[in-house]
């Protein structure tokens, strides 16, 4: 009991130093959590994908389209619920920094395939009725202060011209993993316009979303679809939504790796700071430890006192850092919302940071603790500095 008291008191002996160390640990834990939240945001599309959906795209690459006639052929395959076509529209709202994802989709079927997009019945009806209507995510509406009935003009990058839309509905996500910052409008509106302006580009779908009754059939159905269009002008590549999203992430994997590496650098910083603090404390208390030895306390106890102190400092800092992470994720999420529409703190990240802090606490107490063992009784008791 006395030893435990000694351990606690030691921390308060150098208040300023302990506070600075704890702060530095909490800053590092905070950035570790933030970096890992960014990484999980990277994979947000993957975790939001459903096992009940397949994506069919042109085998050459995403920028190549597929004839709309494929839709009817795909529908013939058994085990399929719905097929919706979609196009990445790539429109810009006023200026480029206002980036958000906008798609032309086969609206009615799309909403059936994506039950996680929650729209009220009235708004849904209004959206489906209006040829120029669009359905917008809640976050996007908040970002631009839009209201239902507002006119929005997007400048096409892939499909030239200024495109007018009327906001008819606002959708919410069923859970946090749903991207609430998308902009959806009727594929028919796009296609009909293209028929007039550039007929060669009409009747082309960027991709098809295929709903399946049974996730276990995904592989079989994918193969069936692809074989249907083998040796045609536009061969298809069908994969689960998850695989499709993963292939996207994989292309920018190098950046994910860099961020992961950087988050380990942070751990290195905590380690050196805490190890330094412990080293200084132990050096100052050399004679006290010698005294302990004189009273025949074993090395294990001295070891325990030093490790306990470094653990206490690190874990206090870690908990403080984690508490700070919650508001920080909100702020950073807002700043980076252009890049990451979904930016949520995951419980795993918190556990991971706690675990790492635990390890760092032990490691950084280890060097000074090892030094304390070498303390020579006679030398340690000489009360000089």
């Amino acid at each position: 009991m006395v030893l435990l008291k000694y351990l606690f008191r030691n921390i308060f002996r150098h208040k300023l130093r302990s506070i600075l160390t704890i702060l530095s640990v909490s800053v590092a834990v905070l950035s570790f959590c933030l970096l890992n939240t960014i990484i999980s945001a990277w994979y947000a599309g993957v975790s939001a994908s459903s096992a009940y959906r397949l994506i069919v795209r042109n085998a050459i690459s995403l920028v190549f389209s597929l004839p709309i006639s494929y839709k009817e052929k795909i529908k013939q395959i058994s085990g399929i619920t719905y097929v919706a076509q979609g196009n990445w529209f790539g429109g810009i709202y006023i200026e480029e920094k206002n980036f958000f994802a906008n798609f032309a989709v086969d609206s009615e079927t799309f909403l059936k395939l994506y039950p996680e997009f929650i729209v009220s019945e009235n708004e849904k009806k209004a959206f489906l009725m209006d040829r120029k209507g669009c359905l917008v995510g809640r976050k996007l509406v908040e970002r631009f202060n839009w209201k239902i009935g507002n006119n929005v003009v997007l400048r096409g990058t892939i499909f030239p011209g200024n495109w007018e839309f009327v906001i008819r509905g606002i959708y919410r996500g069923r859970d946090k993993s749903v991207d609430e910052s998308q902009f959806l409008f009727h594929w028919d509106y796009l296609n009909e316009t293209l028929k007039k302006t550039s007929p060669t580009r009409a009747d082309q779908a960027g991709y098809f979303i295929v709903g399946i009754k049974n996730p276990e059939d995904a592989a079989v159905i994918s193969r069936e679809i692809d074989s249907l269009f083998k040796n045609s002008l536009a061969e298809t590549l069908t994969e689960t939504e998850k695989a499709f999203q993963l292939s996207f992430v994989a292309m920018t994997e190098a950046i994910v790796i860099v961020i992961k590496l950087v988050s380990f650098v942070v751990i290195g910083i905590i380690f050196v700071v805490v190890a330094n603090t412990m080293n200084m404390s132990v050096r100052e208390r050399k004679n006290e430890y010698a005294l302990f030895k004189m009273f025949s306390y074993g090395n294990t106890i001295i070891f325990g006192i030093i490790l306990g102190e470094s653990m206490l400092i690190v874990l206090t800092g870690a908990i403080l850092g984690i508490i700070l992470t919650f508001p920080a994720v909100k702020v950073v999420g807002d700043i980076l919302s252009v890049y990451f529409p979904i930016f949520n703190l995951h419980r795993e990240v918190i556990y991971e940071s706690l675990f790492i802090s635990f390890i760092v606490g032990i490691l950084s107490g280890l060097i000074p603790a090892a030094r304390s063992i070498k303390i020579n009784l006679a030398e340690g008791l000489k009360w000089d500095l």
């Binding site: 130093r17 800053v27 980036f99 990058t157 961020i259 080293n279 060097i367």
Partner: protein
């Protein structure tokens, strides 16, 4: 002055472990700081070098990039005959109508597809890019399914070497040459005959028209004229500007994330330096008292401790830069969000980055050392002398 420097330096050496640990913390921050700068510099260099100063790119209005652009034959013909275009020594116009398509290729050692740019080129495409030269093999014979590939493509993708075949657009294309584009983005491209490419992908349009201006001063006029021509719906950009715009989003991402992270990290390291300096001041109280008694001014004591903290951060800076200099051997290859295509660039260390890291580390040193140094210098002499 020299003695003060020696004093600070020797004190650092005396506390080896503490000095090492504190400087390591700073070194890690400088590592991240310089790595971020090196990355964005590498990206910038790659993209800017991809453009030549007197080249002009014409793409469809609002398309943003070649991948999304389409310019039909009639429009291309109008642009092609612009009088501002420079002639080569044989009197031919230095202009190329090009087509850019993306295909998925499998990266070496993985089963992941990457989007690679296939550029349909013409005779003048090569002379228009002075940075690009054929490294191995020969040039494409026009009218055939021959292709040449950038050196990074040959390095990073399976089965790409001279004599091998790639299949896309329902055809087999034979690799006949490998070109080296220095540090430009062309290194990540595959070049084919534009007319062959158009046929195989059934593309009626070109993506872009590239040409060299005979006089840079004509640019504004040319831009005005083409962009206002009622027969055309195009955008005219200087090539360098075009490539810079391409990477704007990626550059900003790296900068925003990198800079904000280094600032947060530096707080950790600054606190570490503060801890060390505070303990240095506490340990040397009597020394400080003695120096003051001998007649040294407060400012000198302040300077000595600040110097110590600066030396600490300087050591950290050297350590950090030493580590980050190894990053130069590392190439990042990733997808550019704006073009969906593969982009490879390396960490590039420049004197400016070294200077910026130095300044940044010294700022860390000042912030970390100032409060303890002020504490050291403002102690009462009698009290300081009485410490044991």
């Amino acid at each position: 002055m020299k003695l003060i420097l020696l004093y600070s330096l020797r004190n650092l050496i005396r506390r080896k472990l503490t000095t090492l640990l504190t400087a390591s913390g700073m070194a890690l921050v400088i590592l991240v700081f310089s790595a971020v700068l090196m990355l964005s510099e590498g990206l910038r260099k790659t993209l800017i070098k991809t453009g030549s100063p007197d080249n002009v790119v014409v793409i469809r209005k609002s398309a943003g990039s070649e991948v999304q652009s389409g310019i039909d034959k009639e429009q291309a013909n109008i642009i092609e005959i612009s009088p501002e275009i420079s002639l080569n020594d044989r009197g031919k116009r230095l202009v190329a109508k090009e087509l850019v398509v993306l295909i998925g290729l499998t990266k070496k050692g993985t089963d992941k597809l990457s989007n690679v740019v296939i550029r349909g080129v013409m005779e003048m495409s090569l002379p228009l890019r002075s940075q690009v030269r054929l490294k191995e093999g020969k040039m494409i014979r026009w009218g055939t399914n021959e292709i040449i590939v950038g050196s990074k493509i040959a390095e990073n993708f399976d089965g790409v070497k001279i004599g091998s075949f790639l299949s896309f657009g329902q055809r087999q294309w034979q690799v006949v040459g490998i070109f080296d584009g220095g540090t430009t983005g062309f290194n990540s491209e595959i070049w084919a005959d534009v007319e062959q490419l158009k046929q195989s992908f059934r593309r009626p349009t070109y993506s872009s028209i590239i040409f060299k201006l005979s006089d840079l001063k004509d640019f504004e006029n040319l831009k005005m004229r083409l962009e206002n021509d009622p027969r055309l719906t195009v955008e005219v950009k200087k090539e360098m500007q075009y490539y810079e715009d391409q990477s704007a989003m990626m550059t900003r991402f790296i900068k925003v994330l990198g800079v904000s992270m280094t600032i947060v990290f530096s707080i950790g390291a600054i606190l570490g330096a503060m801890i060390t300096m505070y303990s240095a001041v506490a340990q040397r109280k009597r020394e400080i008292g003695t120096l003051r008694a001998l007649g040294f001014q407060k400012v000198t004591i302040l300077a000595a401790f600040l110097m110590e903290s600066l030396l600490l951060s300087f050591a950290g800076c050297i350590g950090g830069l030493f580590l980050s200099s190894f990053l130069q051997f590392y190439t990042i290859s990733t997808m550019n969000w704006q073009t969906f295509s593969e982009l490879a660039f390396s960490f590039t260390l420049t004197p400016k980055i070294i200077l910026q890291s130095l300044i940044f580390s010294l700022i860390m040193g000042v912030i970390g050392g100032l409060i303890p140094a002020l504490k050291a210098s403002s102690q009462k002499i009698v009290d300081a002398l009485r410490t044991d």
